[in-house]
Symmetry: C3
Subunit: 340 residues, 3 copies
């Protein structure tokens, strides 16, 4: 990549140019790191002063007003434009196709065209891998696992027997798919394991962050819907069903048999109990714990989870309790005085 | 498995049959997925309508009353019966015994009979592995590690030097046993590492979920008692001592040198501070954080952890604060009027 | 190690001896496990009775007063002395230098002197490893990774392409450095991945616990400052900048683009939102969640995070609400009586 003009780049993402469209752009960098040959994006008001002071040759912005006299690429959705432009300057590097000689594959494994299998990969019987998929070093695929086309497994991903991963998924290092669900029948104080004989189905275009755990169904399946994106260290228990296009932020946890509609957001370190349903577009805010079904579009905060506005009011009142106590003391004193 | 009759299956678990004992059962499936040749279990009232509408050939239930006219297997503990019956239809598949040629074992390693060692396993000096144990692909056992008989290590489990795992344990993928405890002596603003020279002892019949971490003792040992079951992504710090038959649910965390009695339950995302003792049968509820010793049978909620009933009352009151404030305002107004 | 005298050991750490300096010490053990030939450390008042009853030949203490008649090593900082003395009795065991024949290294990899590369290690192109570094079994280093001298990677650490780890670092098993940050531009309900093209820089003397995740910068870098110590299962998001000598305890989480000053402490299961700055020496207490910038030296508790003293008062008041409600009811009753 030797650079393109601001105008050419803008055309790629349907953006307009303010200033000089012939300015050469050689990379995209952060507001503070960018120099005269770089484009930098401004999409969060916290960084307005950084943007104003940036040495970037051009800024990618939504609104040109705060930046008179600068070369600008103006887009209705700068963050989306950034996603496209980053691929121009940083095309994804896929390893060369082929199976590393150290990999251990059962003869029954069926690989699509241009699959890349890294060193020390292990595949059990009857594994199917789609075209152009990438299996990084040390990945382990149990018997009967299917991996869809163009899916990328980073190093050391484990997919246990019988689980299926769709197309164009990205599983980061250390992900475990298909570990046993946590199910025990307790009798006489002894926890007797319920065999976990279901599986995991991950639909297309899902991303799982580093060290995420997805348990297999006890009976039946655990399912993650198309387009859902999961951050690092998230726990997804057995028989959970997650709808399409959900966002599960780092360290969130979803208990067994709970169902999430589509476009549900679970913020960082949030949780939800088992056997409930979060309606479409529900948001469980940071550190909150949902304890029951929710209506579509709900926002749940605190623990036990309550509607966000109610929780905000309660927390606000909590920090005014000192004042309330003083008012009650005052009332008591005045009543005493009136009584005397 | 070509199927058994309902009566034969019931006899295996000491259950009785209502309806046709000669009905052929070919599998166990969920209430919603089961068909006429399947048995389905009903053990949670949330799913009563699913059970009533289920197409299952027979239901495994505790109480036959809600299901007149259906073929039933009636058991005092359906969930326990399920554990046994699932093994009938889904017998556990152990890999064939033998050491994969790619495994790297020190010559001092001693393996019992019928041990299975998968590809890319690494064992240090003086490792001992009991009869019929299974070491999945990519497991790493440091010097002096002992693994008991019939224990199963899923792929990529790491057991660091000197740690011992008992018999019939199950360690899921990505488990780390024996990482250094988190101990530093801070001097002049520099955190100086305290060498962690203890070990981890995991007793018999313990299960550790995916990506669980158990730190070695600083001095002396970290110990997990017999029959304790640990869910995914749980943190167990150095010198923790966990009693027998405890349940540690996903993402729980136990700080250093804390002791748990037997049958303690730590629910999802709960925690406990260091250097305390949770008495036998203590329950720390979801997201709670215990901050001191507890009596046997305690139930602790919230943070800082309080007795559950007290916490419930406090949370209830918190959400009634708005009303209380109005009552105080009203009193103030009436007093003002009386003063006038 | 066949033992040293109490006096010789004391001299190594600048401590003084009370009692017999010629007493032979053969190991350091815990207060409850130590015998007549062992030294045991007493540094936490919780364990005073254990110390008094200890069978240890000698005690390492700060204050000799509670232990008349015993052989003592008296140090201004017993815990720091312990760190030094443990290395005497338990010198760290490094594996022999050399590259295991099973390792897969690109020919462009450059290894320093006396590097140890374990079985099944994988290195991409242009990797640089400093002198005396140790790469445990199954580690994966992507293209262009640098690892500093004397750094130890425990088994199965993954460092993705372009990330740099300083000198004398310790990365425990299962650590992932350089996974993609969690960044998406949502358009028409579809989450479009923002390519994560930055890297991770880990400075010297950093320790990362088991299964820790550190995401690469979206643009620019994620950085962990010199001397910072990170416990197990911590999440560090993209573009986070952590200062020097911070302590991040188990299961803490730091959201994207947040900056920590030096000597910041995040206690267990705590969190902080994105795009804020925690001032130097800020402490976020257990389970708390900081939601804004903090002044140097702040202590933040609860969620949403508040100054610790304010939070303590609020929680105290919360548990006195029952009493306050009774006082208000009483006032209402008295006013009613006065009105009659």
């Amino acid at each position: 990549m030797t650079g393109e003009t601001l105008g050419t780049l803008a055309a790629r993402v349907g953006a307009s140019v303010v200033g000089n469209p012939d300015r050469q752009i050689r990379d995209i960098r952060t507001l503070t790191e960018a120099g005269p040959e770089d484009l930098a994006v401004y999409h969060n008001r916290r960084y307005l002063s950084d943007a104003r002071e940036s040495r970037a040759g051009a800024l990618l912005v939504k609104d040109p007003t705060p930046f008179p006299g600068r070369d600008l690429m103006v887009s209705g959705d700068p963050y989306l434009a950034l996603a496209v432009l980053l691929e121009v300057f940083h095309p994804p590097r896929r390893p060369s196709p082929g199976v590393h000689p150290s990999a251990v594959l059962a003869t029954s494994a069926r690989l699509g065209v241009d699959v890349s299998v890294g060193p020390f990969v292990v595949m059990g019987e009857n594994v199917i891998v789609g075209d152009r998929a990438v299996l990084g070093p040390g990945c382990v695929l149990g018997d009967g696992v299917c991996v869809g086309e163009e899916t990328v497994l980073h190093p050391r991903v484990v997919i246990e027997a019988g689980c299926r991963v769709g197309a164009r998924c990205i599983l980061h290092a250390g992900v475990v798919v298909g570990s046993d669900g946590y199910g025990f029948a307790t009798s006489g104080g002894i926890h007797c394991k319920i065999p976990q004989v279901g599986a995991v189905v991950i639909e297309d275009d899902v991303e799982l962050g580093a060290n995420v755990c997805v348990d297999r169904g006890s009976l039946g399946e655990t399912r993650i819907g198309r387009g859902t994106k999961v951050d690092n260290l998230v726990q997804i228990a057995h028989n959970v069903r997650i709808g399409e296009h959900c966002l599960l932020v780092a360290q969130a946890g979803i208990s067994g048999s709970t169902e999430l509609g589509h476009h549900v957001v679970m913020a960082g370190q949030s949780g939800v109990v088992g056997h409930v349903r979060l309606g479409d577009r529900t948001v469980v805010t940071g550190k909150a714990g949902a304890v029951g079904d929710t209506e579509p579009g709900s926002m749940i905060s605190g623990f036990p989870g309550r509607p966000h506005a109610e929780w905000l009011r309660a927390v606000g009142n909590l920090f005014k309790l000192e004042a309330l106590r003083r008012r009650v003391s005052d009332l008591e004193k005045r009543l005493r005085e009136m009584g005397e």
